[in-house]
């Protein structure tokens, strides 16, 4: 059972490695955005935060890369396998359906961690981004919970869409819109209309982005393992709760609506 899960995960990783477009959007583009943003905005210290632009953007773009893998790629790859008839064909083998789905999620999760690592490595090597060791465990936990949350939402997208084309459109449209309002790409200091901020609070991406990137801010107090902090404290509890709720919601939708065959 575990051996099969391992081989199926490797199988899914192999498929990803042979899809150049997917590699570009998941592995290359987020790091490219980091370079472009830092070169355009300059790597100055942000007033009052004690960090550089790159120190701020590197973790949020790492989150973006992870979400591109766990959400967008998983949704498209799963819907593509369904379009090809592969999911249906596998249901007539002894491979348990749960192992099949678990392997797809495990592979997307590993790709997500790799995508985040690529952006973090670029930030550290090119722009001297610093890790905060005492905050790292909470940041990594947030990233992993966030990846699972977005994987569940990615499966929900695959379940909601009849074709891979539709899944691609829905996944990309939602993630880009939410990323822009969630300060993942740029953070115009204090110039965001409050209603946009409040809307972004509803979606899980801003919570994931903050929970992870606050772990790289030296001026915040604490190691993050607290439910809710104030302006000066790092706390991942509340963001984790929001992500878990979205993840459960996504899992319920995916479980209820998922179809194995072409439609």
């Amino acid at each position: 059972m575990l051996t099969l899960l391992f081989f199926e995960t490797v199988h899914q990783l192999k498929l990803f490695a042979r899809r150049p477009a997917a590699i570009f959007f998941v592995m290359v583009m987020p790091a490219l955005l980091l370079v472009i943003f830092t070169e355009i905005f300059g790597n100055e210290e942000i007033a009052g935060q004690g960090i550089t632009t790159a120190q701020l953007h590197t973790p949020t773009l790492a989150v973006f890369g992870a979400v591109m893998a766990a959400y967008t790629y998983l949704a498209i790859a799963t819907a593509t396998a369904r379009d090809l008839g592969v999911l249906k064909r596998l249901r007539a083998t002894p491979l348990p359906p749960l192992t099949d789905i678990a392997a797809r999620i495990a592979a997307a999760g590993l790709i997500a961690i790799a995508a985040a690592a690529v952006v973090m490595a670029c930030g550290m090597l090119l722009y001297s981004v610093l890790l905060q060791p005492e905050k790292l465990p909470a940041a990594i936990l947030s990233l992993i919970v966030g990846i699972l949350c977005f994987a569940a939402l990615g499966m929900a997208v695959a379940a909601l869409c009849r074709t891979a084309e539709a899944a691609q459109a829905l996944a990309n449209a939602t993630i880009l819109a939410v990323a822009f309002i969630s300060d993942v790409f740029v953070r115009p200091q204090g110039r965001i209309p409050p209603w946009i901020d409040r809307m972004a609070d509803v979606f899980p991406l801003k919570h994931l982005s903050l929970a992870f990137s606050d772990g790289f801010k030296p001026l915040l107090n604490g190691n993050g393992f607290a439910f809710a902090g104030d302006e000066a404290t790092y706390a991942v509890g509340q963001p984790l709760l929001v992500m878990v709720l979205w993840g459960l919601g996504g899992a319920v939708v995916a479980y209820a609506l998922f179809r194995w065959g072409r439609q």
């Binding site: 192999k14 899809r19 090809l84 007539a92 002894p94």
Partner: protein, 306 residues
């Protein structure tokens, strides 16, 4: 012993009756064919046997198991080829088969199976680069890799060119030779005659006739035909009165349908020799199963159109 049993199987999609109570058995080691035009219910039947679709009524057993329960034991014992190709284009031939071999407790050797379907030479080729016929053979490899007793093949040769089709026939015949029990669907009578020991003609969700090819030929009907080319525009005035009742004349040919062709041919011969007709075109033949099948399905379409 029957490895596949179907009794009074019914299935409707809304108001459309796809299967209107069909029954058949497939014996161990036999190749059985379901033949019929598109929409006759072949894929519905196979997908019920494969556990993909639920039946409305009737009994179905595959290897003694109810496929509606979708048990892992069922899927260890059957190998399938779906009507539409279902392969990952990014994988190589060998990776595809090796991947499937991990699902089965008693999988055959990947090399042996690739040899069997004549794809060993292409084992490093990406699936995307294979021809339609090669993809079909690869899917046969996936169907047999788990060494199943029963193979369910849904129009395996549809869309293949004649050579690829014959290659696939050889593979399917060899599988039957290895003792596999095969149920295949087809819309091509030549294919069914080449591969199947028994067949059932499926039309509008009903079995029109079933049995061995020669039995079907007798059951379906028309009698043997005596044919002779006479030329001319119509039956000659002197044509024997006794034969006129059963004679049809078309473009210079006279055709006589009769249960017992002996006396009819004798009388025709006597008359033709006496009147110095050329006898080189004389034939006595039973219509092919193909002709009977086409006639049967066409007749039904005509009735439906009325």
């Amino acid at each position: 012993m029957s490895l596949i049993v179907v009794r009074n199987l019914r299935k409707s999609y809304g108001a459309l009756v796809a299967l209107d109570g069909i029954s058949f058995d497939v014996e161990r080691g036999e190749t059985f064919a379901l033949i019929g035009p598109d929409g006759a219910g072949k894929t519905t039947t196979l997908e019920i046997l494969e556990g993909y679709r639920k039946r409305d009524a009737g009994d179905v057993l595959v290897g003694g198991l109810d496929p509606g329960l979708r048990s892992p034991r069922l899927y260890r014992g059957i190998g399938i080829v779906l009507q539409e190709t279902a392969l990952e284009p990014e994988l190589t031939v060998k990776e595809t088969v090796r991947g499937f071999s991990r699902y089965y407790p008693q999988a055959l050797s990947v090399d042996r199976v690739l040899d069997f379907v004549a794809l060993r030479r292409l084992e490093r080729q990406r699936v995307a680069a294979l021809s339609v016929g090669q993809k079909r053979r690869l899917e046969i490899a996936l169907a047999v890799i788990g060494d199943p007793e029963v193979l369910l093949l849904d129009e395996p040769t549809a869309g293949l060119d004649p050579e690829a089709r014959r290659n696939l026939w050889r593979v399917i015949a060899a599988l039957n030779g290895e003792g596999k029990t095969i149920l295949l669907s087809s819309s091509d009578m030549a294919e069914v005659e080449a591969l199947a020991g028994r067949l059932a003609i499926l039309l509008d969700g009903r079995i029109l006739a079933s049995g061995r090819p020669h039995e079907l030929q007798r059951a379906l009907g028309p009698e043997p035909t005596v044919e002779l080319h006479l030329g001319g525009e119509a039956l000659p005035r002197l044509f024997p009165q006794t034969l006129r009742a059963i004679a049809r004349f078309e473009r210079g040919w006279v055709r006589l349908e009769c249960r017992d062709p002996g006396p009819v041919a004798y009388e025709l011969l006597l008359w033709a020799v006496r009147n110095q007709y050329d006898l080189s075109s004389l034939t006595i033949a039973r219509p092919s199963l193909e002709a009977l099948y086409l006639k049967a399905t066409r007749r039904d379409e005509q009735e439906a159109a009325c």
